[in-house]
């Protein structure tokens, strides 16, 4: 009986092997696109019904507009999206179309994940500069929107405390800002300012490196992209981080949660440094008393971070023409406006902004479009950015917790430069 069972198993295994050898291979295509003309597209938007609804509309319109290509959408949650991309790249299974956070693009282009975007110049030139991803003078990505940071405040609170309301043309100086938080702390706000320091990850570079740049420092020497020495540990950087440390020490600001804008809505903080994505809720809670203030001038003019999610085409895409046709189709103003109004983000073209409920000249959040145009600065377009960003976060957190400013920055510079050297300058 036992021998018979064994014989049956061996026979079955042999049959399976013969069948495997005899049957045809399903697909010779190693790209992730399925049938002929099928173009797979990955988004980081799973769990975001508003954004997905606009994508669904664009894809349906594009697929109906022609018969050569068919877009197939797959959605990933933002938190695990980069893991999925890295894994797919390792397995040579990247989709044709993929979105990416703007500052990550140079790293992916350098790693060979992406091909030049190849969209018409007229289209690229119509977009906000911070929504176009350039690496070594080649465009690899472009986005439908940008985000912007500002300082939220209540007009009534500033008036009551005799604090000047800053404007785009005359923003707060560092002295004025320091005086404002000191006054507010003395008049009923134990912690007057929420900088969002409870958040982690990319937020730290996105939110605080513009302050560093406003003080005359930077994450790296942008002229060469080969060293952070003098930029991240120079006099401007020391000035900014000394203030940053003092702000926590004097309890003008803390790193208590929650992340978001709830403490401003509850009037537990008077000033909140946060993004356009929180403006709709703040407007609903505070109404016409809400002020969207420009960022503080730390000495070299106000700055805010630019560059949000953007679209690119993978290097191995076999239907690159179709992917380009889709992207070109998708950059219609009506879609950009739909994204802007559903996600409360700044549309990447002026004409789409003009049609937006929030960002048109009379829109309640028009100020964000102005801030983006006037003050936005993209993060350094270097493949070393992921290391720069995580190193910056660590240094800033150490300084927040009381570490010596200059030596902490020197250590950060050393870490960044060592990474750049180990990668042979990342091609610069």
């Amino acid at each position: 009986m036992k021998r018979k069972s064994l014989t049956v198993i061996v026979a079955a295994a042999l049959s399976a092997t013969v069948a495997l050898g005899g049957c045809a291979r399903a697909s010779q295509d190693s790209s992730s696109s399925g049938g002929p003309g099928e173009i797979t597209m990955w988004t980081h938007s799973a769990g975001n019904p508003g954004e997905l609804a606009v994508y669904k509309r664009i894809i349906a319109d594009f697929n109906a507009s022609q018969h050569q290509y068919k877009i197939v959408q797959q959605n990933f949650p933002q938190g695990s999206y980069n893991d999925a991309i890295t894994a797919a790249a390792a397995a040579h299974k990247l989709p044709c179309l993929l979105d990416m956070d703007g500052p990550v693009m140079p790293n992916w282009a350098w790693a060979g994940y992406l091909q030049p975007l190849g969209l018409p110049d007229s289209l690229i030139n119509s977009l906000l500069p911070t929504t176009v991803g350039r690496y070594k003078n080649t465009v690899y990505s472009a986005g439908y929107w940008d985000a912007a940071l500002s300082i939220f405040a209540r007009k009534s609170v500033l008036d009551k405390n005799n604090i000047r309301i800053p404007t785009v043309d005359k923003p707060w100086t560092l002295d004025e800002f320091t005086a404002a938080v000191t006054t507010l702390k003395a008049n009923g706000y134990p912690t007057p300012l929420d900088l969002g320091a409870a958040d982690t990850g990319e937020w730290w570079s996105y939110a605080y490196s513009p302050m560093l740049q406003s003080a005359g420092g930077d994450l790296i020497n942008r002229g060469t992209m080969k060293s952070a020495d003098g930029a991240l540990n120079g006099p401007g950087a020391v000035t900014f981080f000394t203030w940053f440390q003092q702000a926590f020490k004097n309890k003008w600001v803390d790193n208590a949660g929650p992340v978001g804008n709830q403490r401003f809505i509850d009037n537990k903080v008077a000033l909140s440094y946060t993004g356009v994505w929180n403006a709709k809720d703040a407007l609903a809670a505070v109404g016409s008393d809400l002020l969207v203030l420009p960022p503080v001038d730390f000495g070299k003019g106000p700055k805010i971070g630019g560059g949000s999610w953007q679209w690119g085409i993978s290097a191995g895409c076999r239907n690159a023409d179709g992917a380009r046709a889709y992207l070109k189709f998708s950059f219609q103003d009506s879609y950009l406006t739909a994204f802007a109004d559903s996600q409360v983000v700044i549309p990447s073209t002026a004409s789409a902004a003009a049609a937006s409920k929030y960002f048109s000249d009379n829109g309640a959040l028009h100020q964000f479009a102005v801030l983006s145009q006037k003050f936005a600065l993209a993060r350094p377009a270097t493949p070393g950015y992921p290391v720069i960003s995580s190193t910056f976060e660590k240094a800033a957190k150490d300084i927040m917790n009381g570490a010596a400013v200059k030596s902490t920055l020197d250590t950060a510079v050393q870490a960044i430069d060592t990474d750049i050297t180990s990668q042979n300058g990342y091609g610069f």
Binding site: L20, C23, Q74, P77, A88, A91
Partner: protein, 299 residues
Amino acid sequence: MAVRDPGERLLRRRRRVWSYLVLVGLAVFFLFPLVFMFVSSLKPDGQILSDLGGWRAFLPLGDISLRNYAGVFDRVPVGRFLLNSVIVTVAIVGAGLVVNSMAGFAISRLRWTGRGVVLSVVIATLIVPFETIAVPMVYWVSQLPTLVLQHGQIEYDFGWLDSYQVQIVPFIANGFSVFLFSQYFSTIPTAIDEAARIDGAGWFTIYRRIVVPLSGPAFATVAILTFLPAWNQYLWPSMVVQDESLRPVMVGMQYFFQDNTAWGEVMAYTSMITLPVLVVFLGCQRAFVSSVAASGVKG
């Protein structure tokens, strides 16, 4: 029968009351996170955050509703994710019990050259964290052959990405389970094997008819210790599953962390996905406690 004096009886009663008070206190302490999770799932985001500072966080007070649960269904295909997790977990646990117990049996009961080395290698695999081999594994599974039914014909292709088997097969064989089975099997007297051999039983019969029935605690322990990581899988499916219809529940958690976190929906979702685990634990509580005691293993 000795008659206890009233003083001793009173002392014993006091001790019992105190021990119950301590146990109730510990039970409440350990229940707090679950109570907070469930109560918060009924509150709007703003209220969850404003209640955080006090006892209201643990009480269903204020604006209480099931809106967060409705929101979960709008955002995440929760039924599909639960079904996927059940399929993956049941397959890993079921197949794991068979494969690992057989491997443990072979190591502990059969006499063959090199089994000590094999056991050492199996134990050595426990040292390597999964995160360090995840990316190479993705590459391997993307090159594995698979059969597909296409146009009514069986064809072959390469790549296991986007499938149930990629979530199941790599986790069936488990070094810790093999080690635990082999240790437990070695406590069963070998004289039983010898008697069975004399009666004409083969090794598989000895495994199936004698060793397995005598190893209930080991099977229960392995089942429980395999169930939890299989249910909680996050990194691996994040990397190898692109099709939403194949994702397990833990990946779904990330759906709620957008620019702003929908805390109420997070709590509603976690309440929903914790429920099956609680049911399994409560249903198998006795077996779990006795198996841990019998096998001397802590989770």
